[in-house]
Amino acid sequence: MIVRQSCAAEGCGGIAVWNSAHCAAHLPDAAAYLADLKARLAGGSSFEAVHLSGIALEGFDLSGKEFVCSDWSGASLTGCAFTGVKFNLVFLDRGRLARCRFEGAKVKWSVFAETEITGCEFINTDVFRCNLNAARIANTPFRNATLYSTRFIGAHFQAVEFENCNLLRSHFEMADLSGARFSNSNTEEAFFDRERIEE
């Protein structure tokens, strides 16, 4: 389960990252850690309790991997490939996702709240029962995506298109939708603020 170790650095309340006694900020050799991490992730297909809070990954290809019960809170992922990835109970809240591809990914019971998502792609992606509340999402298409029971409450959208998406039981209350566009998506089955419904 989501059992995590505290960082070994004195007085640090951070969470130790996977296979280390230290949090991301106190890694003795961050470059060596990242190289080792890349090799470990490349060598497996299914991972549980891979905690990467606060870590910065760039250019990792995690396509086809499965991650369960993992805390990536505050992580910054840039240019990573998540094609066909499976996330179950992955916590990537208060983080940053830039130019990451989630084509064909299956993401469920996961949290991306308050995360900044820029230039990513969610194409043919299942995002089931996920929390993207207060996320700031820009230049990111959701195309042929299932967003069943996923929440975007209080989220901010800029140049975000929902095209041919299943929005059944998804929530958009209190979101800034001025930069969102919905096409061929079942908005009538999603929850919006009353003002929008009455438009």
Binding site: W109, A113, E114, C130, N131, G154
Partner: protein
């Protein structure tokens, strides 16, 4: 500890299975339905359900109890003395429920209903309909709404930031995220602010 969230499509609600690794004893929180899929989940992990924890006695959280009790000899823990005519172990603030080596602390959180309880195990909190990601539960009238907000502020928002909340509906969240982003916790936010009165 093993942990499995399970979605109940009939009531759009969540139930949660938690098990002690050693004894294989399991607790089921809010069995809103009991189907073959859930039975397979329990049995395939060699678990025995010995406790049912009820956050509140609304149908979408208890409707599976009758079927469950035909299969497992489980004790029911609830604020109420009876659930669906089955006797319970009446449960109050400060009580501790032990399932194998798992320890559940009981927190009374009235407001959505008079019998609302939350259960805390390690850094996980099960809130039923009291608090969900970005929303609060519904309340029958203004006084109940104030009681609900008071319960959340006093008993949930005071928990450590990284406490993970698993609600009765919708995706998981964290205490720090709700404290920062849940606009419905603002007294100025009217009860009718959200269109999503579905639980």
């Amino acid at each position: 500890m093993r942990f499995f969230p399970h979605y109940v499509i009939s009531g759009f609600s969540n139930m949660y299975l938690l098990a002690d690794d050693e004894s294989r004893e399991a607790a089921l929180i809010d069995p809103g339905y009991f189907d073959g899929e859930l039975l397979k989940l329990i049995e395939s992990h060699g678990l025995t359900v010995s406790a049912v924890l009820v956050t509140h006695a609304h149908e979408s959280h208890i409707a599976g109890i009758a079927t469950l009790l035909r299969i497992y000899e489980a004790k029911i823990y609830s604020f109420r003395p009876k659930i669906l005519d089955y006797p319970t172990i009446p449960t109050r603030e400060g009580d501790v429920i032990r399932v194998g080596k798992l320890r559940f602390d009981v927190i009374e959180t009235p407001g959505h209903s008079r019998d609302s309880l939350s259960f805390r195990v390690a850094n996980l909190l099960f809130t039923g309909d009291t608090l969900t990601a970005g929303l609060t539960g519904t309340a029958a009238h203004d006084q109940a709404h104030h009681l609900l907000l008071s319960s959340i502020r006093k008993s949930i928002l005071t928990l450590p930031d990284d406490t993970i909340i698993f609600p009765g509906h919708g995706p998981p969240t964290r205490v720090c995220l709700e404290r920062a982003d849940n606009a419905m916790l603002n007294e100025l936010c009217p009860r009718s602010r959200s269109s999503s009165a579905f639980f």
